[in-house]
């Protein structure tokens, strides 16, 4: 297959954002976290695409939309390998790897069932830290309990 044919698997966009190198299984979570299921812009996505680095990958392209870093970093929890590519007039303007933010707000549920965020309409707030085994943990601002990556549930 020529390179040209491969490009066509997911259409090129004139202006907007390409999120590349998403783990294939996280594409739908990324769509939800960025609110792309509710947008009026054109959104294309591909899953289980060939990737030299990861075997398979997912990709999302959003027309006429650019993201702030804070927004982008929200997806780092599910897609730490993702790259954010800004396209203007079919050209790549910038390319950035996502970074896990120091705080995570609103998008993750606290795993503690007796936490106030699971009892009243309170937006969740977590501080991100790494434990002695270097595993990512989210410390709840309210109940002070730690949610581990394995227990992360997105709201």
């Amino acid at each position: 297959m020529s390179n040209k044919r491969k490009e066509l698997i997911v259409s090129a966009i004139e202006n907007g954002t390409v999120i590349d190198h998403i783990p294939a299984e996280s594409v739908f979570q990324v769509i939800r976290i960025l609110g792309l299921d509710k947008t009026d812009k054109q959104v294309y996505f591909g899953i289980n695409l060939e990737s030299k680095k990861f075997g398979t990958k997912g990709i999302i392209k959003i027309s006429e939309k650019y993201f702030e870093n804070v927004e982008v970093n929200k997806i780092a929890l599910v897609a730490p390998s993702a790259t954010m590519i800004e396209i203007r007039d079919f050209e790549v303007v910038s390319k950035n790897n996502v970074k896990i933010p120091e705080t995570i707000e609103k998008i993750v549920k606290c795993f503690n069932p007796n936490c106030i965020t699971n009892h009243e309409q309170v937006e969740t707030k977590f501080r991100v830290f790494y434990d002695e085994n270097n595993d990512l943990k989210l410390a709840c601002r309210y109940c002070e309990k730690n949610t581990s990556r394995a227990n992360v549930v997105f709201l």
Binding site: N112, N114, C115, I116, T117, H119, E120, Q121, V122, D131, E132, C140, R141, Y142, C143, E144, K145, N146
Partner: protein, 302 residues
């Protein structure tokens, strides 16, 4: 700490803690002053706790302040389904400071974000009970003359005991050597031990209570509850191993004091009460002075 809420002991530095303890000492010398005259303190006990509530209310009234509030959710609008937010916003209009106890973890932090007056957390579920922690620190300092470099034993249920977790974390600021005595099922959680390690301090874990007896300056007792054991047989095996009896104190240090957050059930036998090493009732009284110090300094009156 004028206008600052007291939600979690973890919000406070060593210097701030010492400042509160010093102020509590001055209230112990002079507990009846009229400095809260004209001030209204709300006492909202969504979850009943007679002991803590009376301690707060006595602290406020001895300083001439007045109290409004409720002693249980059953006698408040909460029972009609009012949200915590609405209750706090309403009561903020009627008071200068809110003392609250609630069964939900994190409720105090949330209340401090919505309230227009400062909040003192008198216990939020299994999370924090900072005034208990401060009165424990006060009691340790008063009986030992210092908080630094002490050998402190925690005995009983170290897994679920909120007071043990908070006090352990607070004591990591004071170069404590920790002696942790519990059945294997009720060891201190690793999240709390991490704080000890991060402070480069030592802890030792024991299953035999008598092993720590000659080493300690403080024995902090807690109750082992039957419902913590899925298998009742496991409870039967350990239930008598962590009960403190008077004769066990023979051979302990002269300056040793026995602390307990109260209420006690059977984990300290009554023959210990008359031993000068028993300190749990004075410990409770110290709570009044610590709470006076907190209310007065938050209202900017001390």
């Amino acid at each position: 700490m004028k206008n600052r809420s007291l939600v979690s002991i973890n919000d406070f530095t060593k210097e701030e803690i010492i400042k509160i303890l010093d102020l509590a000492e001055s209230f112990e010398k002079n507990p009846r002053q009229n400095i809260l005259n004209g001030k209204v303190i709300a006492s909202l006990f969504f979850e009943p706790s007679t002991r803590t509530r009376l301690s707060f209310e006595s602290a406020v009234q001895q300083l001439g302040g007045s109290i409004i509030g409720f002693a249980s959710a059953a006698t408040s609008s909460v029972q009609k389904g009012e949200t915590l937010k609405d209750t706090i916003l309403t009561v903020s209009n009627y008071s200068d400071l809110i003392v609250m106890r609630h069964h939900v973890d994190g409720s105090a932090r949330y209340a401090s974000e919505v309230a227009s007056v400062p909040i003192i957390n008198a216990g939020d579920g299994a999370n924090q009970h900072p005034t208990q922690c401060l009165l424990d620190l006060y009691s340790i300092r008063k009986t030992q003359g210092t908080l630094d470099n002490l050998d402190i034993a925690f005995v009983g249920d170290l897994k679920y005991g909120r007071t043990v977790h908070s006090l352990t974390i607070a004591l990591t600021m004071f170069n404590t050597r920790f002696h942790l005595v519990s059945p294997p099922e009720l060891k201190l959680p690793s999240a709390v031990k991490r704080h000890i390690k991060e402070a480069n301090l030592q802890y030792e874990q024991y299953t035999d209570f008598m092993d720590v007896m000659p080493k300690c300056d403080i024995i902090y007792m807690t109750r082992i509850q039957r419902e913590r054991f899925p298998d009742p047989l496991d409870y039967e095996k350990v239930k008598n191993a962590y009960i403190l009896q008077n004769q066990m104190l023979t051979g302990s240090k002269d300056k040793l004091k026995v602390l307990h957050p109260l209420p006690r059930v059977n984990e300290i036998t009554t023959d210990v009460d008359s031993n000068p090493k028993a300190y749990y009732f004075e410990q409770a009284l110290n709570g009044v002075y610590v709470r006076q110090a907190l209310v007065a300094s938050i209202l900017g009156l001390a």
